[in-house]
Every structure is written in C-alpha cells, then in structure tokens.
Assembly symmetry: C2
Homo-oligomer: 433 residues x 2
C-alpha cells in the first residue's frame, strides 16, 4: 500500500480504511511517510472530513504510536482535564489541587501555548524551579503520593500527533474538527486516562469563535470519546472577555494562588463549577449542587491550598508562590491604562485584544521558537457589566519597556467598550454535555 492512494481515497470522498489510518499514524510518528504527503492528506481532510468512525480509528491509532501510560495501582477513576485554551485561562492550576483535595487522582498531560492562548506548561515553568517534564515513572509515583501530577507533552506519547500538529500549524489546516478531536483525545488515551473532563472555550479569545462551532467540536469530542471507550464530559464556557483578572504567565500563577488562598471572582466560580461537574462524573457525589458545596468547602477550608503547596514542592518549585508576600519576579514597567470611553457600563473587554497585547509584550508566542518573558502581562481591572467612571483605571500593563507598554495600551483601549445602558455579562457556562 502506498500513501499516495491513501491521499487519493481521502480526496475523492471515498474515505480511508482502518488500515490506511493506522498506516498514516505510524508513518507520521516514525517519519516514514514524507511530510509533503502528510500535509496533502491533511488538506484533503479539510475538504473531505473524517467521519465519526474514521475519527475514532485515527485517534486510537495515534495513541498507539508511542508509549502508553499504565496507571494501574493509582486510585480510580483516572481522570484527565483539558481546556481548548483561552486568554487568562489558568484553570488547571486551581482545578488540579482542588480536585485532588476532594479525593480524586489526576495525571495531566499539558501543552505549550501558541498565539493568544497561553499554555499551562509556560505558566508553570515561569515559576523558578518548577519541573514540567516528569518521566512516566515520576508521574505515577507523584500521583500515588499526593493525588496529582502534571507533565509537559513528551514526544514519547502519541508522537504521531506531534508530527501532524506541527504540519497543521504550517499548512493552514488547524481548524478541522476531526483533526482537533484526534489530536486532543489521542494524547489523553496514551496518557492512561479513563475519562476526560473538557472545557471548550468559545468566543473571541478562545479556539472556537462562536457557539455553533464550539458545540460542533464538543459533540465530536463526546462522540469520539464514546467510540473509543473513554467518556468525555464537556463544558462549553464563555471566552469573549479574559478569564479573571490576570493575563500573562507569572501573573496568572499569582491569580491562581490567590484563588487557592480563598480569593473569589468570576474565575473562582468557573473553577468551582468545573470541579463540581468533575466530581459528579467521577461519581464522588450524586448532584451538581453537592459537588459545588464540596468544592467551595475545599477552597474555604484551605485543603486545596495545602494540596497545591504539596504539588508545587513535589515538582521542584523554588519559590513559595502561595505566601501572602509575593516573592516572584516582576516586570520592569507597570503602566496604568485609563478608561478612554467615558462613564457608563463596560460592554466589551475583548479577549482577543488582550491576548494579542500580551503576545506583543513578549508574554506569548507568535511562532513556536519564540522565547517567553514570564513577567509580561496585563491586569484587567474591569469586566463586562461593571460600572466605570471617566478616566478610571481599566488595565495595568506589565511590560519590559515603556515603549512596549504604550503599544500594548493602545491595543487594549481598542478592545474596550462602554455602554450608557446597563450590560449583562454572558453566562460563565454556556452548555454542559
């Protein structure tokens, strides 16, 4: 079987057999299929998408191209948590210790950020000493000891995905839903998960710009999860404005620490909602309401904070990010941006503008080889629905230079809008399935 006919079958609409998709996954992993053939297949797939059966075949085939974590010995259920990524989305840093403090065991594979959505790997690595690359043995030992462990994506797990992901990024074939689904779920499957709790971000700062496409992705993830025997529980959550106050790697770690210490804002609420959802699907409790109470109590009573401290210590953090007094590095410049739009109600804090401003400041990557400035970022002082006075501070820019700070301020002002009428923010969670 030559790969040219696999491409031709995809292109013609005939589709690919199970064997052909296994060949694709193996050839992508060991580079026996040249990149130019893979990218032709990827583009053909965008016009002739994989059906549900093919998506499941490809997902399993990709998961099998590398090492597969065996979590035997850890308490069940083996849960992984995933977000499609958004501006200010530091949910993982709160949710993992919160769930572990409620008795669950979490082993999570995490990715780096590209574009306006930051990656958890970058956020945690901005903490001096934090080790993001654990061996499978270390992951298991740590999870057994304290109930949670996280690792940056290793090339040992689903290496086919690494090849295909990089090619998709370079060939304008990122947004195909079956390819997104197989990319996400193959890594979870290889990581040993029995079930996945998944946050699909929807809006200008998320991966899916509108509800319709977010719903389509959610349904495809859910369907593929069923077919491969790894249930996927999904919340579609709002990402028109940044999540919480902080955007930027170290700033977000600080905000997560603040929430774990008991701070509450819209971001805290989302963490608690997602925790409750997870506790229900993991059958730790039988109703969402009870799940909410359990999660709030774990935060209030400091159990989540304690778990977080154990976690950071276990993975080598050299600075206590959870102490009241902040010992973390800071950006050279702090610039306050005032409301340029007059008195009224905030109607828009465009997540995309904020994300782009942070990338511009050096806090994110435009291309994979960019090096991140962990201290760069933006504090959002106002959120949709808030009242705002003329010239009231609305953002604080954390920048390496005045010049970059001024440029970022300009971008931020453009994404900020005020209405004379009261504005009701969108619900935090748009749909659960």
């Amino acid at each position: 079987m030559d790969f040219q006919s696999v491409i031709a079958n995809r292109k013609s609409g005939q589709g690919n057999t199970h064997l052909e998709l296994q060949m694709l996954a193996i050839g992508a992993a060991d580079h026996s299929i040249p990149d130019y053939q893979l990218s032709a297949w990827l583009m053909a797939e965008c016009f002739q998408p994989l059906n549900e059966e093919e998506t499941a075949w490809l997902t399993v085939a990709m998961a099998k191209t590398g090492a597969q974590l065996d979590l035997t010995g850890l308490p069940k259920p083996w849960i992984d948590k995933h977000s499609t990524g958004g501006v200010g989305d530091k949910t993982t840093i709160v949710l993992l210790p919160l769930l572990a403090s409620c008795g669950l065991t979490i082993v999570k594979m995490s990715g780096r950020g590209l574009g306006i959505t930051g990656g958890t790997v970058d956020k945690l690595e901005s903490v001096p000493g934090f080790r993001m690359h654990l061996t499978p043995e270390e992951l298991k030992t740590q999870a057994a000891a304290i109930g949670l462990a996280i690792s940056g994506q290793t090339s040992h797990l689903a290496p086919a995905d690494k090849t295909l992901y990089e090619l998709r990024d370079a060939t304008a074939t990122v947004e195909s839903i079956p390819l997104i689904v197989s990319s996400i779920l193959s890594k979870k499957l290889a990581g040993g998960a029995e079930m996945v709790v998944l946050d699909v971000k929807c809006g200008s700062g998320g991966f899916m710009p509108d509800f319709e496409s977010a719903k389509k992705l959610a349904l495809a993830l859910s369907e593929t999860g069923k077919r491969i025997g790894m249930p996927v529980y999904i919340s579609i959550t709002e990402m028109e404005q940044p999540l919480g106050r902080m955007v930027g790697n170290l700033l977000e770690v600080q905000e997560a620490a603040w929430v774990l210490r008991g701070g509450t804002n819209r971001f805290t609420e989302l963490c608690v909602e997602l925790a409750a959802h997870t506790l229900v699907v993991a059958e730790c409790t039988d109703s969402h309401e009870k799940g909410l109470s359990i999660a709030w109590a774990a935060l209030r009573e400091g159990r989540a904070l304690l778990k977080a401290k154990q976690w950071f210590a276990a993975q080598g953090a050299e600075v206590d990010v959870f102490g009241i007094k902040d010992r973390l590095p800071k950006a050279k410049v702090q610039l306050t941006v005032s409301n340029p739009k007059g008195k009224g109600y905030v109607s828009k804090v465009d997540a995309r503008s904020v994300g782009a401003a942070v990338v511009h400041l050096g806090g994110g990557r435009e291309v994979v080889t960019d090096i991140i400035d962990p201290t760069a970022g933006v504090e959002c002082l106002k959120h949709v629905g808030d009242q705002v006075e003329e010239d009231e501070p609305i953002f604080i820019v954390h920048a390496p230079s005045n010049h970059l700070a001024e440029q970022a301020a300009e971008q931020l002002r453009e994404g900020f809008e005020v209405s004379e009428e009261p504005v009701k923010p969108l619900p935090l969670i748009l749909e659960t399935l």
Copy 2:
C-alpha cells in the same frame, strides 16, 4: 508575507494574488518554501481551482523562475509541439522532421514517460548515441543549421515546474486542470516558443479518459495561451486503442522510421493531419487541404526522411535507424499472441492494457527511478474495425524473458474484444480548436 496565509487564501476560496503566485513559483524553484507547504497548497488548489487569470499568472511566474531561451536569429514563427501523451504515441519523431522539411523551424523541449504513456526522451535515448541533453546554445545552433532540435527537459527551464510536478505525482494532485496547464505552458514559454501546437489525447490510453475532460483541458490551454500571448492550437485525438502498430521505445522509433520511409497506416494519417494543422497556423499555407498535400508530398518525396537523417546525425545517433536493414538491438523473446475471442470484427484493443503490459515488460516506468528496457514492447497486429479469424495472431510481445512475455500476453488478451457485427473505429481527430 508568509506562505501559510497563501495556503489559507487558496483554501478559503478567496484566491491568490499575482504576488502570491509569484512567491509560490519562486519558492518552489529555489526550495525556500518547504515541500509540505507546497503540497498543502496543491491539494487546496484541487478543491478551489485557480481561475483563468490566476492560471495565467502562475504560468508566467513559473516560466520566469529559470533560464529563458531566446530564439532570436532563428526563422519565425518559433513553434513548439506537444502531446499530452498516449500509448504508442511516437508522433514527435515523425512530425518534427516532417515540419522542418516543409520549411518550419522547431525547437522542442521533451519529457520522460511515467506510467503507461511513454516519453519521447526515452524513445530517442533508446537509439544508441542519441544525445537528449543539448545546451541552449547547441539547441539554437542546430535549429539554425537544420531547422529542428530537441532536448530533454532541463532543470534550467522553469525549475518551479520540476518541484511542483514531482510533488503532484506523490500527492495525488496530478489531475487538476489549471496545474496541468501551467506545467505544460510554463515550459513552452521558457523554451522561447511563440506558438504551440498541442495534441490532447483522449481515451483509455491517454491522459484524459473521456472527451468531456479532454475538451475542458483543451479550452483551458487555449484560454491561458491567449492570456499569456502564446497562442495554443489544439487537436483532441483518439486514444482508446494504441496509436499505430508499435508500443515500446525502440519499436516505436522503428515505426517512426518506417513512416518516414513512406509507410502508411493510421499513425501516418495522424502525423499528416497534425502537420497540416501546424502549417496552417504557422501561415505557411492557407487551407488544411493544401497543408495535407504539402505534408504528404514531403513524406512521399523523401524530404522528411532526409531531414530526419540529418537530425539523428546532428544529435549523435550511432546507428542508422532509417536503413531498410534493421541494425537496432532486439528483445530476447518474441511471443506471438493469438486471438482468443473467435472470428469477427475487432471491437477493442484497449490502449491502457497494452500500455500496462509494456510497463510490466520493463518498457516503461512505474516510478521515476525505474530503468527502462528499450527493446521491450508490443506489436499490435490488429486494430479496431479489422476482421479477425479464430486463433489469428493479434499481438507480438517483445520481452526479456518467456515468463514476462506470458504475463504480458495474459494482460493483452484481456484488453482485446471481438464483435460479430462490423465495427467502425472512432475518428482519428475528435476536435480541433
């Protein structure tokens, strides 16, 4: 401008600008755009084809990526002749000296064969000593001296096409009409042609399987020719059965020599028709009928043969292929295949089966790196419409071994059909435009 956005614009249906297509051509020629991005663009093009304006832009851009022959000094018009390729299509070997003997000057760039359609380069190179790679200077000098010269495609002319052609072959993106058009015409343009006479073969042994698709290609070639200021005159010709008696490299050279010596069959007729068409468009005569007379006379009176002898001598042939006594190498085995289908009228000699049998015998390439056996081939003793007796010889297989000969015979029998009713062959020329 990054090439990813060029791909995205193609994919979305927005199309590409002149500048983007220039960037594509240059990047393909100097390999500054990676193959995996080019192949993604090629696949997107198959679903969102280039429009007529874009096709012309790409054609000119590709022609400009390498050397451009300047034929100044040679008598006008500067004509190139091209065939899309078919089984037993040795037209070039007759037509070039025939036209030169009628006073035209022909400088032709020629290609190698792949699959069932042989290439003129391979046919001529099967003659011991024949040099298929002339420098631009040699081409011009020879054309000035004797009125014709041919060269295998050099990487100096339209190198962008070389890159794209190889990628298309490997990525199931060969059959896009705009890509075929730009590939053919960019080489002609770079080769210095002012006008092109083009034979689009249509049928099971041709590049285009049916008349509708052949017509579509012909119209696209004609339209692009107009737009780039290089008129293209097209005959759509029949390729359901092999052209003439011989299929296979040296065998075809021998048949061409036989025609030049005055032999006449269906293949001779096609050569004369195409010659007449060319004489009219080159304004050497004012009607097709007069063109036919001129061409027949050149053959009958030995002028075409004389020109062919000059030509072969000028390009280094060490054997006189035009002498009555055949001095060319022969295959080890000659196997006669008899009619297995009973008495009647031949209704089918499937060109595809014959072409495939010749490739199987070693007379053609399955992949570009295959080495060709110049002596391998098939003689077709019967043609559509001929009467045939039970067990009458219908093919002679020229093979390197009995084993391969038997296998080829099996393939040939399958493509041969007999009808009890008289059968009328298809017309030789289906349409001219």
